[in-house]
């Protein structure tokens, strides 16, 4: 097809079709993909969910089950994967190609320690021929412990290489005893154990913090540079692509839309889909304006179709796009290829009709723009005063007697207020106490000490709150799929809070219809069940439920983290509209700072249960005063393909059961001095906001 195989080609995929049989008929998850990966190359495979990225990757290692490859060929290191026997396939997996999977909580076996899981991978690579079950079960006399000891020692080396701190101690740890970042590193160690020529990484950093993501990407790049290992990186995050990929393949509905060097794709996208994907990114858009979106969704790949799969959503689509085979056109000078009838037509000019409607949302931030001072701000809805939450870890009487009564400081003496109509973003790495703080505000947890006030009245947990206080705060949880009852229809879900305050039937019906309309769902979706909806739609239902009783504050716990860029953009626009129409205040919890920068009026930065810095979003992003904020900002993958990620934070935060003396951040702080260990810094008032650092000052 478009990319010629050369001597240095490691992986070549030709016209791959992978199909799943479903009750509704065959699903063509991969529909004619052709691409190559050269030795030592880092290639990004991008696209929305449902675009066939993962299935393509799994087809390469023969894990496409229960799908089947119906046409096309995959050659890996001169072995035809598509025709390989089981034995050949196992050899390939043990020697040539490794996979890193998306969710490290699910991809490590919970009942074996990580040392065992890594050691196994080394052994398979070393002795691919002799895989005796009894030996792998460590049943004497077949599997001697001493022989395994040597593999475990090598596992420790590998753990060290992938950046797991004190690997000799962690080698005996079970997956549940590790943090998300450490788990994913262990997953990477398993992949690297066979010293592969190609690593296929399927969304390896999607479930991780920005800081951990930056560290892990850096490891990938180092490994690539040192060993010449090729990497096929599957992601929906174009920021990640810009950081480390040499070349990009853009996938849509199981077909390749465009390929090319990263720089060219980011600066001069030729395919309307690539262009639209790039425009959805919050970091490309001014704070005040609405995010452009791609209307519609990835088509169900059930039926054979003619023409360009993107045509129904494409603003440039013409009659020519809708039938026949669209050829893939090679661009000159190694600039890749593009599968579009207008392959060189519209380079970077603006679209003919503005569906993105930039500038339509400028009213959302107007109110806060004009009010920089504290005095003329609206009254706070929620005030936290010295709020702490501690958990006792010792649950048994003997442990308590032995004095091993550890307490975990989830939230430590936090002062914070949320004012009417504002968006306050709460950011920080996972485990810093963001979600606990949210639970204290919603009343799902009660503080160990300190006061939570809502509309000026001190409140307790949910059980102690009166109806007015309860309806004043709405919640949208992190994972909408598990926070909606799968057995209730959309209508019943939204209806539930209305019923609980005793509305009569016709009134509830009207209200549900109004709410569906507000969040952009159609009326016929009222009778759907959650499993029939997409991730974005489910999150809309959750938002509708949260605003059903006209709250003045909605707590949004990572509301868009699980969503693709395009879906995320649409949801953020919905949230902005609701805020403008209903004068809602948002507590927006997120670890994605590019999203936060786009939505937040004020930002609160949390670390180890304490607020490090609070201030207006513009100021915090432009002139951070706390070193932790600066570190977080540096970890954001930028879209500038210059390959520099800046120094990122090493390691993970210290354990909240044993926080450092003085300033909690000092152990990872580049500016730390002896006085930081001696005294806990005061919250310094700045010209705008406050900062908890000895060195904080107004710039």
């Amino acid at each position: 097809m478009t990319e010629q195989s050369t001597d240095s080609t490691l992986l070549s995929i030709e016209n791959l079709h992978t199909r799943f049989r479903t009750r509704e008929g065959p699903v063509h998850a991969v529909d004619g993909v052709s691409m190559t990966v050269d030795e030592g190359e880092i290639v990004g495979l991008v696209g929305e969910s449902g675009s066939g990225k993962s299935v393509t990757a799994r087809s390469i290692v023969g894990l496409q089950d229960p799908g089947e490859i119906v046409r096309g060929s995959i050659r890996l290191d001169d072995v035809a994967v598509t025709d390989a026997t089981d034995r050949q396939l196992r050899r390939l997996r043990g020697d040539t190609v490794s996979m890193v999977f998306q969710d490290p909580t699910e991809t490590l076996n919970p009942v074996f320690d990580v040392g065992e899981q890594i050691a196994e991978s080394i052994k398979v690579h070393d002795e691919p021929g002799s895989q005796r079950l009894l030996e792998y079960l460590h049943l004497p006399p077949f599997g001697s412990r001493s022989e395994w000891r040597k593999y475990r020692d090598r596992a420790i080396d590998l753990m060290d290489q992938v950046g797991i701190a004190s690997p000799a101690d962690r080698v005996d740890a079970y997956p549940h005893e590790l943090s998300g970042g450490q788990r994913q590193r262990a997953g990477v160690a398993i992949a690297l154990a066979s010293d592969p020529e190609l690593v296929i990484a399927d969304e390896p950093t999607t479930a991780l913090d920005a800081t951990t993501q930056a560290q892990l990407l850096e490891r990938f790049r180092q490994y690539n540079a040192e060993r010449g290992t090729a990497i096929l990186l599957i992601t929906h995050d174009l920021g990640v692509v810009a950081e480390i990929c040499d070349r990009v393949v853009v996938l849509y509905a199981g077909e390749v839309m465009e390929t090319g060097p990263t720089e060219r794709i980011l600066e001069d996208p030729r395919h309307p889909y690539t262009k639209a994907l790039l425009e959805c990114l919050p970091q490309r858009v001014d704070r005040e304006s609405r995010l452009p979106t791609i209307e519609g969704s990835v088509p169900e790949p059930t039926a054979d179709r003619a023409g360009c799969p993107f045509a129904p959503r494409c603003e440039y689509a013409t009659a020519a796009c809708r039938d026949g085979e669209i050829p893939s056109v090679a661009l000159p000078d190694g600039r890749g290829s593009v599968t579009c009838v207008e392959s060189n037509g519209f380079a970077s000019d603006s679209p003919p009709s503005g569906t993105g409607a930039p500038g339509a949302g400028s009213e959302t931030t107007a109110a806060t723009e004009s009010a920089p001072g504290d005095s003329d701000r609206p009254s706070p809805i929620v005030e936290l005063e010295g709020v702490s939450k501690r958990y006792s870890l010792a649950s048994g009487p003997i442990e308590r007697f032995l004095g091993a009564d550890d307490t975990l400081r989830a939230v430590d003496r936090v002062d914070l207020e949320i004012r009417a109509g504002e968006t306050l973003a709460l950011v920080g790495e996972s485990g810093c106490g963001k979600s606990t703080l949210a639970s204290l505000i919603t009343g799902l947890e009660t503080p160990t000490s300190g006061t939570v006030r809502i509309d000026g009245t001190p409140v307790g947990g949910v059980a102690d709150r009166d109806a007015d206080t309860l309806t004043d705060v709405g919640v949208v949880f992190q994972d909408p799929r598990s926070s909606l009852n799968p057995r209730l229809t959309v209508e019943r879900t939204i209806d539930e809070p209305l019923r609980s305050v005793g509305w009569d039937r016709p009134r509830r019906k009207d209200r549900v219809r109004e709410l569906l309309d507000r969040v952009g769902l159609s009326e016929h979706q009222a009778t759907s069940y959650p499993h029939e909806l997409s991730g974005g739609q489910i999150q809309r239902v959750a938002i509708a439920r949260a605003i059903a009783l006209d709250p003045s504050l909605v707590v949004l716990d990572e509301p868009v983290s699980a969503l693709d860029a395009a879906v995320q953009a649409r949801l953020l626009n919905v949230l902005a509209d609701l805020q403008a129409d209903l004068d809602l205040a948002y507590l927006f919890i997120s670890h994605d700072l590019t999203v936060v920068e786009h939505v937040a009026d004020r930002v609160a930065v949390m670390y180890l249960g304490d607020l490090m810095e609070v201030g207006p979003a513009d100021r915090v992003f432009d002139r951070p005063t706390h070193p932790y904020t600066r570190a977080l900002l540096e970890a954001i993958p930028s879209l500038e393909p210059d390959g520099s990620m800046g120094p990122s934070l090493e390691d993970a935060p210290p354990s909240p059961t044993d926080p450092p003396s003085g300033c909690v951040f000092r152990t990872r702080c580049p500016m730390a001095e002896p006085k930081c260990a001696a005294t806990d810094p005061e919250q310094r008032r700045l010209e705008s906001g406050r900062s908890k650092c000895h060195f904080a000052r107004d710039h």
């Binding site: 894990l63 699910e106 991809t107 919970p110 009942v111 690579h125």
Partner: protein, 316 residues
């Protein structure tokens, strides 16, 4: 929660359960109609005893004391290993139990072996080749096993093996050969239930992402299935096995009587018919202790199989 706390709390719970069982079993006997003194004496003497004789027997055996006092007396004796004396044979109850317990335990363990030997391979193969003829055959077998009453299977086995083929003894206890037919009788019924459980548990586990991780290392499918998947799939199975082992002690009654094995079941049934209170109490208590101990072992196994199990529910 530390290991010691866990052990301590499990032992405390087990002890409480045992004491509870002893109170209930002791108390229940006093709710049944009929005066034991009168019944026992009439059997011993072969005639209706006189009021004076009944009174003397009551005084001698402490039957006139308030029930709580009788219970505490009995409990103290039990703690010293003295379960009292059988009303009929003057043999200490502890001796009767010591003779009967091994017979029942060996049967229960043998039946458990039969269960494991059938259900684990059958369940795994069934799950791995889902929808194949093997799968259907094993599911049909399981259905048959569940629906077959064990007294019927017992007679069927006796008919086929000792009576027609001349192998294995018809009844009795003492050798390995004696054990085979009762163990099969008890084990197959249980195997049927466990096979289905292993199959569904395996099907669930085989869909997990870590199974693909194992495959992507280049491991043979056999190691993927029997090492990575099976260990996870066994976690729910072990719980059921523990409860089933307890049930075996009860289910053994019918089988013990058919095969005329002098086990706890036989001892208990005879004692109930004879209103031989000390024996009934002793057997009930011992059975309860065995049951509680089994479940303690199950809980500890559970912790070994699944390192995530920590009482107290802390998370990483």
């Amino acid at each position: 929660m530390s290991r010691y706390d866990y052990l301590a709390s499990r032992f405390a719970t087990s002890l409480a359960v045992t004491v509870g069982v002893s109170v209930v079993s002791y108390g229940l006997l006093f709710l049944t109609p009929g005066d034991p003194a009168e019944i026992i004496l009439s059997q011993q003497l072969g005639r209706q005893p006189s009021a004076a004789e009944i009174e003397a027997f009551r005084a001698e055996n402490g039957l006139n004391d308030p029930i709580p006092v009788q219970y505490l007396d009995w409990l103290l004796d039990v703690c010293r290993g003295d379960f009292g004396t059988s009303y009929y044979s003057d043999t200490p109850v502890s001796t009767l139990i010591a003779e009967a317990l091994p017979v029942t335990l060996e049967l229960a363990l043998a039946a458990m072996l039969v269960t494991l030997a059938i259900s684990i391979p059958a369940g795994v193969v069934s799950a791995v080749s889902r929808g194949s003829p093997i799968d259907y055959a094993s599911q049909l077998g399981a259905l048959l096993g569940v629906s077959m009453p064990n007294f019927w299977l017992a007679y069927l086995l006796i008919l086929v093996f000792p009576l027609t083929l001349g192998v294995f003894p018809v009844a009795g206890a003492g050798s390995v050969g004696h054990l085979v037919l009762p163990a099969i009788t008890l084990g197959t019924g249980m195997a049927a239930v466990v096979t289905r459980l292993v199959r569904s548990s395996m099907l669930e586990v085989l869909d997990e992402a870590y199974v693909d991780t194992a495959r992507s290392k280049g491991l043979r499918e056999r190691i993927v299935v029997y090492k990575h998947a099976l260990r996870n799939a066994l976690v729910p199975v072990v719980t059921v096995l523990g409860l089933q082992l307890g049930a075996l002690l009860n289910g053994a009654v019918v089988v013990e009587i058919i095969f005329q094995r002098p086990g706890l079941g036989t001892l208990l049934v005879d004692a109930v018919f004879e209103r031989n209170y000390p024996v009934v109490q002793g057997v009930t208590l011992v059975t309860a202790v065995v049951f509680v101990a089994t479940n303690l072992v199950v809980d500890l196994t559970y912790r070994y199989l699944d390192p995530r199990v920590r009482l107290g529910g802390e998370t990483a």
